[in-house]
């Protein structure tokens, strides 16, 4: 094919504007005409990576490796795809090979750090990230990745510093904003975390990870509210048995518990940005959340009712039943939330590796 450089440039331009399917179609024609072009196979791998076709990306990258074994790029592409497929040892091996071939190129160290981080080897990741920073101190992705590594090692202050540096270099780096949100969350600052997630979603609305993270945080907040409410209720149920108080103070205590829990939740919500408050309304109206709240409050009300209306003589028999009802309500509420509270926050990887 005489037009190979132009076709590759065209494909490269398509990849730059994230038109992965069009690029794949063009590159399929190119590689069928020029199957010996290593660069064409690399671009093909990058197109597949962008379109989340990881197995195909690995095949294309392997083909490029067989054509030009001294090139580091296909190893990085393969490593990236392997990380997405969860094959971390092979991803790290491919990244290591890329680094061996081009030790002076910062991207190879970023690739090693990313694979090591995914494979739960923060020590290796930290060392590679440090080397990448030395080679390319002005690359936002290097600081972004360094921040992720620091967060994985529990170094919150350092992680925050790196992400802020990434944002200073690229104010629209939504990945760094997302990471700052995760750091805030580690510090139990829900409102602050949501603010960062919203900034990330605003900067890159097509990336669904950020809005999903907001949903996860909101669901966690609801879930924790239910947890605290049922826990306090569980303690309060013992009051009549221990103190032999009258029915009225007991009912007042229940009302106060419910009121305080609702006030705490409202306080958390009010500290959130306007956009998040709108989402809270939607979250609370969601059927499974509404069901969870109804189960928890209904269960606690029944348990309190049993204890409050039981004659003092029967209290010892009624109390275990009330405890069981409260615990069951809590478990049922969590089941209604269907593991929302256990969902992990998502992180964004460094973008698919260009040359």
């Amino acid at each position: 094919m005489t037009e190979l450089p132009q076709e590759l440039a065209r494909a490269s331009a398509m990849l730059d504007v994230r038109r992965f399917d069009e690029a794949s179609a063009l590159l399929a024609r190119v590689v069928s005409a020029e199957p010996e072009s290593s660069r064409a196979w690399c671009l093909m791998a990058r197109a597949h990576l962008g379109a989340e076709r990881y197995t195909e990306a690995i095949s294309a990258a392997n083909r490029a490796v067989s054509l030009d074994p001294a090139d580091e790029w296909p190893h990085r592409l393969a490593s990236n795809a392997l990380v997405h497929l969860g094959n971390f040892p092979d991803a790290l091996r491919a990244a290591d090979e890329a680094r061996r071939l081009a030790p002076g190129y910062w991207q190879t160290h970023v690739c090693v750090a990313q694979a090591a981080l995914a494979g739960q080897r923060p020590g290796v990741a930290a060392e590679a990230a440090s080397r990448a920073r030395a080679l390319a101190p002005n690359e936002p992705d290097v600081h972004f990745l360094s921040g992720k590594v620091s967060l994985a090692r529990g170094q919150l202050a350092e992680a925050r510093e790196h992400q802020e540096q990434a944002l200073a270099l690229d104010p629209a780096h939504s990945g760094a904003m997302n990471e700052l949100g995760r750091i805030r969350l580690r510090r139990h600052d829900t409102a602050g975390a949501i603010r960062h997630f919203i900034s990330a979603a605003r900067a890159t609305p097509e990336e669904r990870i950020y809005s999903r993270n907001i949903d996860v945080v909101l669901l966690r907040t609801v879930s924790r509210t239910i947890y605290v409410f049922t826990l306090v209720a569980l303690i309060l149920i013992w009051i009549p048995a221990v103190t032999h108080l009258d029915r009225l103070p007991f009912v007042i205590a229940l009302g106060m518990t419910a009121g305080l829990t609702a006030a705490c939740f409202a306080w958390i919500v009010l500290r959130m940005p306007r956009e998040a408050r709108r989402l809270v309304r939607r979250t609370l109206r969601a059927p499974r959340v509404a069901a969870a709240l109804a189960l928890a409050s209904g269960g606690v009300a029944v348990a309190f009712g049993l204890v409050a209306f039981a004659p003092a003589a029967d209290l010892t028999g009624v109390l275990p039943v009330a405890v069981v009802i409260t615990v069951a309500a809590r478990l049922a509420a969590f089941a209604a939330l269907r593991g929302a509270a256990r969902k992990h926050l998502r992180v964004v990887p460094v973008c698919c590796p260009p040359r």
Partner: protein, 428 residues
């Protein structure tokens, strides 16, 4: 030389990703023939002919493998006992192999005994032809269109008239009210919903020439000297005034510079800004229109006053537009007893491209039945309804992103109309 399996696999993946890319399918079919995989080649050629019934290359390639494949034999297809299927893909494909059979005559003879194509709705065949043009929005180029050719979408037309066309057409009133003509109009909305067609209709309304710059043209610009190419494009528009310059998929050319690592593309955006400002200064007869599925990816500099400062949301087709799209995609196919209003009612939330896909799926179903029964049959309402069950609306991903935009990135109210639509549809 026999192609390698990896190459064939790559081509298959590419075809899966771009099912409507006819040249790519033809390329795959050619390679499959070379590899001796005739059955799959015939399938690919059949798919090509579904999308482009007269494709000479596909017909030529079919001459070889078709004899061995389970498509309808010309003798059967040409049997006087069955109604003619003038535009059906397999029959059309085989028609080239039966020079002795006069398809036109057969069509004339049987015209009276064929059932009506469309039922329900009050429109006659003649009035339906107007609808055919309306829906042309979704695939082909057509000169001389006006907004009257756009089926349904009344709200979009009204807003277009108020925001763009009325000031353009009334220079005296424009001067009286001091209304500026600076800037262009950015059409945005989900993919496959008629933005390009509306742009052509606007050109028709203004009686202007129409220069459309597609994504492929944009990419070609980046391959050469992008700044010079962009400058030349605008010069051509100025020379051809009155002229509508339409930049399709403007997010590709005007992507946020912060997202672009590639220096030539960054400079292309800068050049585009320069040209837009030049046009604003001397805009006699050059009207700027652009379309994008992702306005949020367009560099904010492009959307400042005097550039693409007016936006118009083009939403999925309403019921009237959907009827038009169905009518267009079925007009050249052998159909009978189709209740367009009923189909339109069942496809709320579908894009024009989705409806085209439904029609293709229904045609495929009828084709497969014909192959099985060795007797061509008409495409019926049942085929289309079954296809609607199979084809799901493709706009979910777009609306997910749109929801994020309306929720988090609508600080200055740019997406209020989108937010209102999402609330109305209970997406937000």
């Amino acid at each position: 030389m026999e192609p390698e399996p990896t190459v064939l696999d790559s081509l298959r993946k590419a075809v899966e990703a771009m099912p409507d890319d006819v040249p790519l399918r033809l390329h795959l079919a050619t390679m499959l023939l070379q590899a001796g995989q005739r059955d799959e080649a015939v399938r690919q050629l059949g798919a090509v002919l579904q999308r482009d019934p007269g494709n000479a290359q596909a017909l030529g390639l079919l001459q070889g493998p078709a004899a061995d494949s389970p498509v309808i034999s010309p003798e059967r297809a040409g049997s006087p006992a069955v109604p003619p299927v003038p535009h059906a893909t397999p029959a059309g494909a085989d028609a080239g192999k039966t020079p002795h059979y006069d398809w036109s005559q057969a069509e004339d003879e049987l015209r009276d005994v064929l059932p009506a194509m469309f039922v329900g709705g009050g429109e006659t065949e003649d009035s339906a032809s107007a609808g055919i043009d309306e829906a042309d929005a979704y695939d082909t180029e057509q000169a001389g269109l006006t907004l009257a050719d756009v089926a349904g979408m009344t709200e979009v037309k009204q807003r277009l008239e108020a925001a763009f066309l009325a000031p353009m057409r009334n220079p005296e009133l424009r001067r009286l009210y001091g209304k500026s003509l600076r800037g262009g109009l950015l059409l945005y909305g989900p993919p496959g919903c008629g933005k390009t067609f509306i742009a052509r209709a606007v050109a028709g309304e203004l009686g202007a020439r129409f220069i459309a710059v597609s994504f492929a043209d944009i990419i070609d610009m980046f391959v050469g000297q992008s700044e010079r190419n962009i400058h030349e494009l605008f010069e051509i528009a100025r020379r051809n005034a009155p002229c509508v310059l339409f930049l399709d998929e403007v997010d590709a050319i005007g992507q946020k510079r912060s997202q672009l690592r590639n220096t030539p593309m960054r400079s292309a955006v800068n050049q585009l800004l320069l040209e837009l400002d030049d046009i604003s200064g001397n805009n006699d007869g050059v009207f700027l229109l652009a379309a994008t599925n992702h306005p949020w990816d367009v560099d904010s500099a492009l959307r400042r006053p005097g550039r693409f400062d007016r936006t118009l949301l083009v939403l999925p087709p309403d019921a009237a537009a959907r009827e038009g799209v169905f009518r267009y995609h079925l007009k050249d196919r052998p159909v009978a007893g189709i209740d367009l209003a009923r189909l339109a009612g069942q496809t709320d939330g579908y894009s024009g491209a989705d409806i085209a896909h439904i029609c293709e799926t229904a045609a495929e179903r009828a084709l497969m039945d014909s192959v099985r029964l060795s007797e061509p049959r008409m495409i019926g309402l049942g085929d289309l309804e079954a296809a609607i069950g199979e084809v799901k609306p493709s706009l979910g991903a777009w609306f997910d992103t749109a929801r994020n935009v309306a929720l988090f990135a609508n600080e200055n109210g740019s997406y209020d109309d989108l937010a209102a639509y999402l609330r109305k549809r209970r997406i937000m």
